[in-house]
C-alpha cells in the first residue's frame, strides 16, 4: 500500500538526515575581504537596482592558505533584524542547516584578486535587511573559508531591499471581473427563479 511505502521511505530518509553533518561556520577562517556597492542603510529596489560585489584574498593572510580554494559563491544574507520571529531564516552553526544566506548572487572560480560582479537584485528577493557573504569551497564542495561585508556581530554596513509587490493591474482587473460575475449570476438566478415561481402561481 502507498502508506506503507511512504512510511518506509520516510524512515530511510530520516536515518540519512540524522547522519549527515555540515561544516561548522565557527570553524571557518575569514580570509576574504568582500566589498559591495550599497551604502549602509540604502534601499534597493528588486528587479531594478544593481549590486556590484568585489572580493580578494586578505593580503595579511599566511602564504599558501588558498592552496585548496577552488570556487567562490557570493550570497545575499539576512541581517539579524530580519531573522527575528522568523524561524525559517535562522542562523545555525552547522552550515547544512543554516538558513541565513538564501539568495545566490554568483558562483565563480577562485582567484586571489581582481574579482567583481554586477548583479541586478532578483525579483524574488523579499523585503528585508541584508549583508553579503562569500563562501570559499574546495574541490569536494565543502566550505573552507568565507568573507563578508559586515562585522562579526552582523551590525554594520547593512542595506535594505524593497521587494516587488507581485501585484499586477491585469490581475486586479481579472479578479474584479470574476467576482462581479459570481455575484451577478447568483442574483440573476435567484430573481429568475422567483419570477418563474410567481408566474406559475398566477396560472
Amino acid at each position: 500500500m502507498a502508506i506503507q511505502d511512504f512510511l518506509v521511505a520516510s524512515i530511510l530518509l530520516s536515518c540519512f538526515i540524522a547522519t549527515s553533518y555540515g561544516v561548522s561556520f565557527s570553524s571557518l577562517p575569514e580570509t576574504l575581504v568582500v566589498t559591495a556597492s550599497p551604502q549602509p542603510g540604502q534601499v534597493l529596489k528588486a528587479g531594478e537596482d544593481t549590486i556590484t560585489v568585489s572580493w580578494l584574498l586578505n593580503t595579511s593572510s599566511p602564504a599558501g592558505i588558498d592552496f585548496a580554494y577552488k570556487t567562490v559563491k557570493v550570497k545575499l544574507c539576512y541581517a539579524p533584524i530580519s531573522q527575528r520571529d522568523r524561524a525559517w531564516r535562522k542562523t545555525v552553526d552547522d552550515l547544512e542547516k543554516d538558513k541565513t544566506c538564501q539568495h545566490m548572487i554568483v558562483a565563480k572560480a577562485y582567484s586571489s584578486s581582481n574579482n567583481n560582479f554586477t548583479w541586478i537584485v532578483q525579483k524574488d528577493v523579499p523585503t528585508a535587511t541584508y549583508f553579503i557573504r562569500a563562501y570559499v569551497y574546495d574541490s569536494n564542495n565543502k566550505e573552507v573559508a568565507y568573507g563578508q561585508t559586515t562585522n562579526s556581530n552582523k551590525a554594520t554596513n547593512l542595506f535594505d531591499v524593497q521587494a516587488i509587490t507581485g501585484r499586477h493591474v491585469s490581475l486586479d482587473i481579472a479578479s474584479v471581473c470574476f467576482s462581479a460575475f459570481s455575484v451577478v449570476s447568483l442574483l440573476g438566478f435567484f430573481f429568475l427563479e422567483k419570477r418563474r415561481s410567481k408566474a406559475s402561481q398566477a396560472k
Binding site: 520516510s10 523579499p126 501585484r167 490581475l171 474584479v176 467576482s179 459570481s182
Partner: protein, 532 residues
C-alpha cells in the same frame, strides 16, 4: 403494501435463500423502517420520502445527486480555506510576515466560520439548504479572488478570515443529507459527505503547490504565481455554486419555497426554532464535544507541517506531503465513524451511538498525546495516523447523533455544533500553538489531554426515550412525546407538528434490538406501511 419477495421475513424461505442482507449500506428490506412504494423515486424511500439506500456510484435524482453536489461544494470550501497553508513559505517572503502573523492568520481562517455556521443553521431551517449553500459559496468566491490584492500582513489575515466564512457549507451539507436520507443510515451518509468534504484540507496541500509550480514554469515570478494560483479555488466556488442552484433541490419532493407555497411544508418562526435549539442542554454538550474532534482536526491541519519540518528537519515538500496525509485520511475515517455509529445503533440503539462516540474521541486524544511525545519519525507518523482516524471518526459519529436531538431545530443545532468545532480550533491554536512558551510537540500533548478530559461529558447526554451511556430509558416516554414537546398546543392544532411525528416514527430504530417488541404505531392516513 410492499411485495413479499422470496426470503422476506415471515415467508417460508426466509433464512434459506442465502440472499438475506446481513450487513449492507441499505435498510431497503428492513421491516422496522417505513416504506412508501407509491413514491416515484429511483431509490426506495420511507414515509418522509427519504432514501433508505446509499448508492455511492449513482447520480439518481434527487437523493444521490444531492449527496454529490453537497460534498463537492463543501470540499471546494475546504480547499480555498486552507489553500494558503502550503504556500506560506512564498507568501511570508512576499508580505514580510512574522511567525505571529502566520499564527494569527491560521486562527482567523477558522474563526470566521464560527459566526457563519450559526447563521447558516438558521438559514437552512428557514430558506432551505439549496439557496443557503449556493449563496454562501458564490458570495465567498470574491473573497478568494481578493488574494490578488493582498500586500500586507493585515490584509492577509483579513482575507483568510473572510474566506473562512465559506466553511459554513458544512452545515448546509449535513442538513441536506438529513432531509434526504433515512435515520438508520444517516450516520454513514453524513460521515461520508463531511469526510470527503474535509478531505479538501488535505487535497489543497497537494493541489496548490502543484498549481504554483506550473504557473511559475509558465514564466511567472514567484510573488505573482501564488496569487494566480488562487484563481482555481475561486472558480471552483463559482462553478459549484451554479451547479447547486441548477441541479439541486431542498427536499425529496421539491424545493422549500414551492413546497411551502403549496402548503406541504409549513413555514416556521425563527425565534421558536432558535429557542428550542438553545434550551436543549444536549446542544451545548455537543458544541463542546465537536470542538474536541473537528476543532483539533483543523488545528492540526494548520500546525502539523511545521511540526514535522521543525522537529525532524524534513524539507518543506516532505512535511507538506505528511500534512496532506492527515487531511486525506478523512476519505475513510469520517465515514467509518458514521458507519460504526449506525452499526452500534442497530444492536444497542442510541446508547451504542453514544459509547461509540466516547471511545473514538478518547482514543483520538490518547494518540494526540503520543504524537506530541514521539521522538522518532516512524512513531510520530504512526501516532499521527491513529490520531487522525480517532478524531475524524469521532466527527462522523457526532453527526450520527445530532439529527436525533431535535427535529424542529436541526439546522440551528447543526450550525451551533459546527460553530463549536471552529471555536475549539481557534481556542486550541491560541492556547497551545501561538506563544513561544510551548514547543509544538508539547502543545500537541497538552491538546491531547484536553481532548480526553472534555470528551467525558458524553456520559451526560440522556434521551428519555432511549437512555444514555449508563442510564436506561424512561418507560413512559415515546419518540412521539419527545419530538412533540417542541410544539405548543396551538401549533399542534394547526397541524404544524406532522413532520415531527413522521420523523418520530422513523426514529424508532434508535431503540436498537428492542424495536421488535414495540407495538405497531398508529397508521398515518397518507402513507402506506410495510409492517409485517
Amino acid at each position: 403494501m410492499a411485495e413479499k419477495e422470496i426470503g422476506s421475513p415471515g415467508s417460508s424461505m426466509h433464512g434459506v435463500t442465502g440472499k438475506e442482507q446481513t450487513f449492507d449500506f441499505s435498510v431497503a428490506n428492513d421491516q422496522t423502517v417505513t416504506s412508501d412504494s407509491t413514491a416515484k423515486f429511483k431509490l426506495p424511500v420511507d414515509s418522509e420520502h427519504k432514501a433508505k439506500v446509499f448508492k455511492i456510484y449513482s447520480l439518481a435524482k434527487p437523493h444521490m445527486r444531492t449527496f454529490h453536489l453537497s460534498w463537492i461544494a463543501f470540499f471546494t470550501c475546504f480547499v480555498s480555506t486552507f489553500a494558503a497553508a502550503p504556500l506560506v513559505p512564498i507568501i511570508r517572503d512576499n508580505l514580510n510576515l512574522t511567525k505571529r502573523d502566520i499564527g494569527n492568520a491560521g486562527i482567523a481562517s477558522v474563526s470566521g466560520s464560527i459566526f457563519s455556521r450559526l447563521v447558516m443553521g438558521a438559514a437552512c431551517d428557514l430558506l432551505g439548504p439549496r439557496y443557503s449553500c449556493a449563496f454562501l459559496i458564490m458570495l465567498s468566491a470574491p473573497t478568494v479572488f481578493c488574494m490578488t490584492f493582498v500586500s500586507s500582513p493585515g490584509g492577509y489575515v483579513a482575507v483568510r478570515f473572510m474566506i473562512g466564512f465559506s466553511l459554513a457549507t458544512f452545515v448546509s451539507c449535513q442538513f441536506w443529507m438529513s432531509t434526504m436520507f433515512n435515520g438508520k443510515i444517516i450516520g454513514l451518509v453524513n460521515g461520508t459527505a463531511a469526510g470527503w468534504g474535509n478531505m479538501g484540507g488535505g487535497a489543497t496541500q497537494l493541489l496548490m503547490p502543484l498549481l504554483y509550480e506550473v504557473i511559475r514554469r509558465a514564466g511567472s515570478r514567484p510573488f505573482t504565481a501564488w496569487r494566480i494560483a488562487f484563481y482555481v479555488p475561486g472558480w471552483m466556488h463559482v462553478i459549484m455554486g451554479l451547479l447547486v442552484l441548477g441541479l439541486g433541490q431542498d427536499l425529496p419532493d421539491g424545493n422549500l419555497g414551492s413546497l411551502q407555497k403549496r402548503g406541504d411544508v409549513p413555514k416556521d418562526k425563527f425565534s421558536k426554532v432558535l429557542w428550542y435549539a438553545v434550551t436543549n442542554y444536549r446542544t451545548w454538550i455537543f458544541v463542546l464535544l465537536y470542538g474536541m474532534s473537528l476543532g483539533v482536526e483543523l488545528t492540526t491541519d494548520n500546525v502539523i507541517a511545521e511540526y514535522f519540518y521543525d522537529r525532524f528537519d524534513l524539507n518543506l515538500h516532505t512535511a507538506g506531503t505528511i500534512a496532506a496525509t492527515f487531511g486525506m485520511a478523512n476519505i475513510i475515517s469520517r465515514p467509518l465513524g458514521g458507519l460504526m455509529s449506525d452499526i452500534a445503533a442497530r444492536r444497542f440503539g442510541m446508547r451504542g451511538r453514544l459509547w461509540n462516540l466516547w471511545i473514538l474521541q478518547t482514543l483520538g486524544g490518547v494518540f494526540c498525546i503520543c504524537l506530541g511525545r514521539a521522538t522518532t519519525l516512524s512513531l510520530s507518523i504512526t501516532s499521527m495516523i491513529l490520531f487522525s482516524i480517532g478524531a475524524q471518526a469521532a466527527c462522523g459519529a457526532t453527526f450520527g447523533i445530532i439529527p436525533f436531538i431535535s427535529r424542529r431545530s436541526l439546522g440551528v443545532i447543526s450550525g451551533l455544533t459546527g460553530a463549536g468545532g471552529n471555536f475549539g480550533s481557534g481556542l486550541t491554536q491560541l492556547l497551545f500553538f501561538t506563544s513561544s512558551k510551548y514547543s509544538t510537540a508539547t502543545g500537541l500533548s497538552l491538546m491531547g489531554i484536553m481532548i480526553v478530559a472534555c470528551t467525558l461529558p458524553v456520559a451526560l447526554v440522556h434521551f428519555p426515550q432511549w437512555g444514555s451511556m449508563f442510564l436506561p430509558p424512561s418507560e413512559k416516554w415515546t419518540e412521539e412525546y419527545y419530538y412533540e414537546k417542541e410544539w405548543n398546543k396551538e401549533e399542534k392544532e394547526r397541524g404544524l407538528h406532522q413532520g415531527s411525528l413522521k420523523f418520530a416514527e422513523n426514529s424508532r430504530s434508535e431503540r436498537g434490538r428492542r424495536v421488535v417488541s414495540v407495538a405497531v404505531p398508529r397508521p398515518q392516513p397518507d402513507t402506506t406501511e410495510a409492517h409485517v
